[in-house]
């Protein structure tokens, strides 16, 4: 991977690709071959055609587990806007907490990372799990095509898996950045709002169009405390 580490080599950065320097750099610094980004990469990298063909999502959810209050509003908004019901199990974002574990390890948030190389899409035998070009390349499930094999659920490299099994309606589903929220009057999707972001009272989840750093969690679990109104009062505890 030595050639991929040379982030200061101007020759590797192609302005014609339409990629920002950060997108290019983070793509190569991520999960190796799987982290190829949208657009065409020029230069001397041999990539399989399928890898080059997956365009990056135009939207991502970032969270701050040190800020989250564990109220589960995001989960209830997700199930409400997508399914018209209140359910934690049908939420495509999962907040798990153990009140007896000291802060900050008491809360974990599992939001879909809209992976640049989505394993859930790769393994789907029917194309139900797919990249939706009409909706900013969000990785989502066409439930009409889902045959319930759960390969996507098992393929998600993260715990808890972000591709979920809807055991009520018997199909897979996942975060679509609210592209399809029939029970909400707001416009969702990458050009619109996300229900979890809209309802979070702590502003502990946010939406970005920038591709997060792929290595580890630092790109997806970020500091959202430093600029809010409470921070301006100097009231946040001294944590980073």
């Amino acid at each position: 991977m030595a050639e991929n580490d040379d982030r200061n080599d101007e020759a590797d950065y192609s302005p014609q690709s339409g990629l920002s320097r950060r997108q290019f750099v983070t793509g190569l610094g991520g999960i190796g071959l799987g982290a190829v980004l949208g657009g065409v990469i020029t230069g001397g990298l041999a990539q399989p055609a399928s890898a080059i063909a997956i365009p990056a999502s135009q939207g991502y959810l970032l969270v701050d587990t040190k800020k989250c209050s564990g109220c589960d509003s995001c989960m209830l908004a997700c199930s409400l806007t997508h399914h018209g019901k209140a359910s934690l199990s049908l939420s495509r974002i999962q907040v798990a907490q153990n009140v007896f574990t000291p802060y900050p390890n008491d809360i974990t948030i599992s939001q879909c990372r809209q992976c640049p190389f989505p394993a859930c899409v790769e393994v789907c035998p029917t194309g139900a799990s797919h990249v939706d070009a009409a909706n900013g390349n969000v990785r989502t499930v066409d439930v009409g095509k889902c045959i319930g094999c759960e390969r996507c659920v098992n393929a998600c490299p993260f715990t808890s898996s972000r591709a979920d099994w809807n055991f009520e309606d018997k199909h897979a589903e996942k975060c679509d950045l609210c592209a399809d929220t029939p029970f909400w009057n707001e416009k969702g999707g990458v050009g619109g709002k996300q229900a979890c972001v809209a309802v979070c009272p702590m502003h502990a989840v946010t939406f970005t169009q920038e591709v997060p750093v792929q290595a580890g969690d630092v790109g997806y679990n970020v500091n959202l405390r430093s600029k809010d109104g409470w921070a301006k009062l100097g009231a946040w505890a001294k944590t980073t």
Binding site: L76, S87, L88, S160, V199, A237, T239
Partner: protein, 687 residues
């Protein structure tokens, strides 16, 4: 039944170790929560004169339509009722409640509530996983004897954690349900197991149903814990309306992006960021947008411990300032033992005073070998709380509850007359001053317990008194404030209800204030179940002219979830019905007008506050002075016996009760409570 309800109530006969269900629709007319709990108690508790520890006592743990939904300041609430052990001189049928994730999980599991009858022959715990309900042995499962934290953690292991992909299947088949969540557990600690009246119910390490002694009632039934894990859903009648209501409400509630306070007071704020116990977060009950729990910092302070649960530690420090008292450690200990913090707040100053008088101590008239010379220290708190929970030393007598303990020591009359034992009424420690804050004092007087409802307490007392104390500008002139708030007090809308002057407190308008508050809380706050720490929202710095979200808030969410068309006034009328049912139950328990009584010191002493460790600031409240509205300093006032008795008579008349405080047949029949009237008739209570 419309949206929001699960449709079934779980019924557990602990004596027979049998499980069955009741259709929620049987009790639909009561709305949910408290209303259903009272009606179920009325039907199932055959002899309502039994003691709290009698197996014939029926305990209900109820949710309503809103629980488990996206409704802020409601979704997490759970209402517990039954004959409580704390009431004095009679153990009144009473209520307590708590937040967190328990109510939501009950709903997701397909249950609107749980009814507990009888007494198990040996300690048990109830394991609810969706529709599968098993009564398990608390001893062989190693739970009996554990503190509340260890109990909950043990149940996490017993019920199971995450599967290999982070999702945990329950029900044994792929489509039976999955979750990433831990079970929600409500348990008792040693205090409840030992049937100490200070024993309470604890959830999530600190969401506590603190008062009433309900923990000891569970102990008397050999019930250690209820665990519930649900993977189902709650049907919502109008999801789009609910999302819109949420967006509307969030604009009117506390915002972390734009923190506004009133008079320098942050009412019900997210506690965590400001928690001095250490680096921490705010923590919230299900779907809440206020997130008032906090702590869980580096010192491990349990989430609910930021609130009043931490008050005992503060009282201990103030009673006898010591430097080594770690409030986080003390509060966690209290939570683990499952002790009612407020009972401790009332008893400790009294006990310390007896020590200083030389009446209590090693070898004294009241023999106690607790380290009273270092009262308030961490070591003392540990010894004291453990004595309470395990009935050691004076804990054996205090297990009767502080009122009965004082009676046993022959000190009740003396010490509640001087005010050294500052019980307000019915065996409950004084909370807000009955001599000044009318709706609190008189409302508690005609009820079963310290009402603990802060609706007027924030805007009529704290915001005003704080501004007065720190010489800050009031948000608006007194007349404007009372007029604005009175507009929300449907159906009465009388600003004179908010006249806290001495004449005002005995007026007919004051009768209306107390009646309004009883009716409002019985339905909107305890049956629809809106959290006392969020609603009523009378005054908000986020809204035009400071006009809070009440009375739009309450029906807006209720109707979006249920699909009903309830008005605020409809809810008030239903609250009046439920309140009358409660009053009738107390009458069946033997209630007379003589029980509607405040402890003696409130009539005799005008001292500012007898408790040294009080959190209160001097009472400045809205009042009519010579016909003009002012923010008046009203501290130091004594209650007047004759005027109080006269107020009671007018209150009874207003409520349609006879002069003994018993609802009349006509009143009950007009409210659709014919069977309640028949029961009172059969018991010879109707005049």
């Amino acid at each position: 039944m419309g949206g929001g309800y699960a449709g079934k109530i779980l019924r557990i006969d602990l004596s027979a170790k049998a499980v069955s269900s009741i259709p929620t629709s049987d009790y639909e007319e009561y709305g949910g929560g408290h209303g259903m709990g009272s009606a179920i108690f009325f039907d199932l508790c055959k002899d309502k004169t039994v003691d709290a520890f009698d197996p014939g006592n029926v305990v209900t743990v109820m949710t309503g339509a809103l629980q488990g939904t996206l409704t802020p300041g409601a979704s997490g609430r759970c209402e517990v009722q039954g004959i409580g052990s704390q009431g004095y001189p009679k153990q009144w049928f009473t209520r307590t409640n708590f937040g967190g994730r328990f109510a939501g999980n009950l709903k997701y599991a397909g249950w609107d509530g749980v009814v507990l009858e009888g007494k198990a022959s040996s300690p048990v715990w109830v394991d609810i996983r969706n529709g599968d309900v098993v009564i398990r042995d608390a001893k062989t499962d190693g739970l009996w004897g554990l503190d509340t934290f260890e109990t909950e953690k043990a149940i996490y292991s017993l019920v199971g954690g995450s599967g290999s992909d982070g999702w945990f299947e329950i029900g044994g088949s792929r489509d039976a349900g999955r979750t990433t969540q831990k079970p929600a557990v409500l348990s008792i600690g040693p205090a409840g197991e030992n049937m100490c009246v200070s024993g309470c119910l604890v959830h999530e390490g600190g969401g506590g149903a603190g008062q009433t002694g309900m923990g000891s009632v569970w102990g008397s039934k050999n019930l250690k814990a209820i665990s519930v894990l649900g993977t189902g859903d709650v049907a919502i009648a109008d999801p789009k309306a609910l999302m819109e209501a949420r967006a509307w409400a969030q604009k009117g509630f506390w915002s972390i992006e734009d923190p506004k306070n009133l008079m320098g007071m942050w009412s019900n704020l997210p506690a965590g960021p400001a928690d001095s116990a250490g680096a921490g977060r705010a923590q919230g009950c299900l779907a809440c947008s206020k997130n008032c729990h906090g702590g869980r910092g580096a010192k491990g302070l349990a989430p609910g411990s930021h609130c009043v649960d931490g008050g005992y530690g503060m009282f201990a420090t103030a009673v006898n300032p010591k430097t080594d008292q770690d409030n986080a450690v003390t509060t966690d200990r209290l939570q683990r033992l499952g002790i009612n913090a407020w009972e401790m707040c009332g008893s400790l100053p009294w006990l310390y005073d007896l020590y200083k008088q030389g009446i209590l101590g090693p070898g004294k008239e009241i023999d106690s070998n607790l380290p009273w010379d270092e009262c308030g220290s961490g070591a003392f708190n540990k010894a004291f709380l453990e004595a309470m929970a395990y009935k050691k030393d004076i804990g054996a007598d205090l297990a009767l509850g502080v009122a009965r303990c004082a009676e046993k020591w022959g000190r009740y009359e003396t010490d509640t007359t001087s005010g050294v034992l500052a019980l307000q009424c019915h065996g409950y420690a004084r909370h807000y001053d009955a001599r000044t804050e009318t709706e609190w004092g008189f409302g508690s007087m005609v009820s079963d317990r310290d009402i603990n409802e802060h609706d007027f307490n924030w805007c009529m007392y704290w915001y005003v008194a704080f501004a007065a104390m720190y010489k800050m500008p009031f948000i608006m002139p007194a007349e404007q404030l009372v007029t604005m708030v009175a507009e929300k007090l449907l159906p009465y809308k009388d600003p004179k209800m908010l006249d806290y002057s001495e004449d005002g407190m005995y007026s007919d308008a004051s009768v209306k204030l107390v009646a309004w508050h009883r009716h409002y809380s019985r339905f909107w706050k305890q049956s629809a179940i809106y959290c006392d720490w969020a609603i009523a929202d009378f005054v908000s710095p986020y809204r035009e002219g400071y006009s809070g979200l009440t009375p739009e808030y309450e029906p807006k969410f209720f109707n979006a979830v249920t699909g009903k068309n309830m008005t605020f006034e409809d809810g008030m009328e239903l609250g009046r019905k439920i309140w009358n049912m409660d009053r009738a139950i107390w009458c069946l328990q033997g209630r007379t007008r003589d029980h509607d009584k405040l402890d003696e010191w409130q009539f005799l002493t005008g001292a500012t506050r007898p408790i040294k460790a009080s959190y209160e600031v001097p009472y400045t409240m809205p009042a009519l002075v010579d016909g003009k509205w002012e923010y008046a300093y009203i501290d130091g006032r004594k209650l007047d016996k004759a005027r109080t008795e006269d107020w009671k008579s007018r209150f009874y008349a207003f409520e349609g009760w006879d002069d003994n405080g018993v609802p009349t047949k006509a009143t009950l029949e007009k409210l659709g409570l014919t069977k309640v009237a028949a029961a009172l008739q059969a018991a010879g209570k109707l005049s």
